[in-house]
Amino acid sequence: MSTKRFIVIGAGGVGTWLIAGLVRLLEWKFPGSGLIIVDGDNYEEKNKERQEFTKIGNKAIIKAHELTSHFPNTTIIPVPKWVVSENFAGITAQEDAPKIKASDLIKENDVVFAVVDNFAARKIIFDTAAMLDNIDVFTGGNDDALFGSIYHYQKRNGIATTEHPVSFHPEYENPPDKNPGELSCQERAEIEGGTQLLATNMAVAALILGRVQKTIVQDQSPEETEIYFDLGLGKAEPYNRMISYILEESKL
């Protein structure tokens, strides 16, 4: 079986639980693969309610250290940096908040997980992926209660299999928020984390893992491209955003 390169951008409320599943999947389904964990943020005591870390410090480094000894068939690499756009004009090597351009991180055939907490960073990741020929990007997020959604963007041989999320989500085209990687330390510290719920974070991670199982492990089509869920209502609803399906829908 081939090896993979999974890149998880954001090791927070969703990323923590998603990484736990992805590393197991790589270890047993794609031994010899790589798992890159990217996060410029630090784990603090206040994160303990929803996130799983054994120490205080940079999330990417701590998580990589935690996993390495348990999963010898997977190469786990921490990237303790904030992801920024190609147009970022600041200093990427800034010592207190190092950054990496998305185009220096994401390469052909990667499977990327954009589990950050803002639309601006997600847009940078999707736009970078759109420049490549073969790529999978999964994203997911939730609100402060029991609602959440996930999305799978895929390209094969230079052709998009599923729509870029901007086609259905104006919030990606004109993000109402800012990429933390492009803010000063002071501005970043002032961002409210909200009052997210552990159950919703874990549900987002589980839904993404389910899509990875179907579309990457089993190599099936990404028909359930976008899934909305509401744990309060006990509902989940899949939407087909495949290019071929959308064209037919528009003709009806």
Partner: protein, 83 residues
């Protein structure tokens, strides 16, 4: 996409169409009504925001578009943001 469907030439009719918003998905006898009327009918039940764009496939629908039998009309639901 700017290929908006205004429905200006559509003839009012009746029949079943499908309405969707986030986790909600309901076939309903709504054909012949405009997008605006459909929104008014379902906004309180489903919580559809007044500025939520309606789509058929990838095409944005004008508020005056007359829903046709078999249409699959989706009101935009903002994606989950936090993670």
């Amino acid at each position: 996409m700017e290929n908006n469907q205004t429905g200006a030439s559509a003839q009012p009719t009746s029949g079943m169409a499908n309405l969707r918003f986030g986790v909600y998905n309901q076939p309903t006898n709504i054909a012949g009504k405009s997008v605006q009327q459909a929104r008014d009918q379902f906004s309180k039940i489903w919580g559809i925001p007044t500025d939520s764009v309606a789509y058929k496939g990838k095409d944005k629908l004008d508020e005056n578009y007359v829903i046709q039998p078999g249409d699959n009309v989706e009101f935009h639901r903002r994606a989950g943001e936090k993670g």
